[in-house]
């Protein structure tokens, strides 16, 4: 088995390899940002060396999906996951593995000596193995980043739909950000549910924080208004900015039958009148 050379190199010269590698890594990574310190780096390189030595001893070939590489894979997944959370870029994460090549190849050359054929063969095997390990790291890194993005998206969706009770029988829903179909669906459902729970008569949809209104957004708003009417509640749209009013008229969207107000205060005053409440000033 040709892996034997690499395995013996790893076993014999492990300490020197790790030292050279850690030095290279520390030089390659941007320091001073406090994202990862020397002790942590040394721990990671040490752990990797240990696992690689074990794996290289037992494994045949460079197929890292084999069972012998499982602990190594798990370790790398852990490393790239933590790198993703610490805000490293993908190339910085990949450098962790690829910077191991230089010291390893040097050691291999020393071990093999002048036999060019064997050296080429050994180098190729080591490259194949390290490349697949590096790719695996990047893949995990990517996945971790996607998970972060997905979680943030979900959180944003939850954050963006607070239904607040303004007065007895009056609900308000301040909408912030661009409205798409998925968001409007969530908004509509949570608002209707809240109307049932609180028995509100009037709901105010505040679109002050909505940057643009196109035909699709207007249609979504109309749907919400209609659904509220079917349930027996009234809907007032407030926070229509001048540009949006112009856009709506230019687009030819028919908002007749929908009460609109320029700001939330006016909408609240109207809602109070509709519910029969009065305010003393």
């Amino acid at each position: 088995m040709a892996d034997a050379v690499m395995s013996s190199v790893l076993k014999k010269n492990g300490k020197e390899l790790q030292a050279a590698w850690t030095r290279d890594l520390a030089a390659a990574l941007p320091t001073g940002k406090g994202r990862i310190n020397a002790i942590e780096l040394e721990q990671q390189t040490g752990e990797f060396m240990k696992l690689l030595t074990v794996a290289a001893e037992h494994a045949r070939g460079a197929d890292i999906s084999a069972a012998d590489f499982k602990s190594l894979r798990d370790f790398l997944e852990g490393v790239s996951r933590s790198r993703a959370l610490q805000g490293f870029t993908s190339d910085e994460t990949a450098t962790f593995i690829f910077s191991f090549k230089k010291p390893l190849f040097e050691q291999l050359r020393m071990a093999v000596g002048k036999d060019a054929d064997t050296l080429a063969n050994e180098t190729w095997l080591a490259t194949a193995l390290l490349d697949s390990l590096g790719l695996h790291t990047v893949k995990t890194f990517q996945k971790a980043r996607e998970e972060v993005i997905n979680r943030q998206q979900r959180e944003m969706l939850e954050l963006s739909t607070p239904v607040v009770k303004l007065w007895e029988g009056i609900l308000a829903l301040p909408m912030i950000g661009t409205l798409d179909s998925a968001r409007t669906q969530v908004v509509m459902e949570s608002l209707l549910q809240k109307v049932v729970e609180t028995g509100a008569q009037v709901a105010i949809l505040d679109i002050t924080g909505v940057p643009t209104v196109d035909t699709l957004v207007a249609q979504h708003l109309l749907k919400t208004v209609t659904a509220l009417r079917l349930m027996g509640a009234e809907c007032i749209i407030s926070g229509v900015r001048p540009q949006i009013a112009q856009t709506i008229v230019h687009l030819g969207v028919d908002l007749q039958g929908v009460t609109t107000k320029a700001n939330l205060a006016d909408a609240l005053a109207l809602a109070l009148k509709r519910t029969g409440s009065t305010l003393k000033s």
């Binding site: 009417r229 349930m231 029969g276």
Partner: protein, 128 residues
């Protein structure tokens, strides 16, 4: 054959739909209700659909039709207690039921009917 009961409360009629509506039942209700309005000379009809969880376009149209018939026979009709899911479904189906009065629950619906018939007070629930 099953049928939906129509209760008389003074000059109002109260219809509570508590079973899944199928087409035949809806047609039967339409028939029964128009006869009942005539017989009792009802001034107002309250249709409670708070337990109705599923609608299709046919039932949606039927509800609108019943409301229209009531109006022709001289009775105000109010639809009360529509569930959020039902409201969303009807809107997605393009059935916005124009001209149908709605209210959140039976109590509100009753108040709305009184106001409409006696013609006093501000109408809080919209009338399309």
């Amino acid at each position: 054959m099953e049928r939906i009961p129509i209760l008389r409360m003074g000059e109002f009629l109260l219809v509570t739909i508590q079973v899944d509506m199928h087409d035949q039942l809806a047609l039967k209700l339409q028939d029964d209700l128009s006869n009942a309005i005539q017989r009792h000379a009802a001034k107002g009809v309250l249709i409670d659909i708070s337990t109705l969880e599923m609608v299709d376009s046919f039932i949606g149209r039927m509800v609108a039709d019943i409301s229209g018939m009531g109006r022709i026979l001289g009775a105000e009709t109010v639809l009360v207690g529509m569930q959020p899911a039902v409201a969303i479904t009807l809107v997605e189906l393009g059935l916005s039921l124009p001209g149908v009065s709605t209210a959140l629950n039976v109590e509100r619906g009753m108040a709305l009917l009184r106001r409409k018939i006696l013609g006093v007070g501000d109408v809080t629930a919209t009338a399309g």
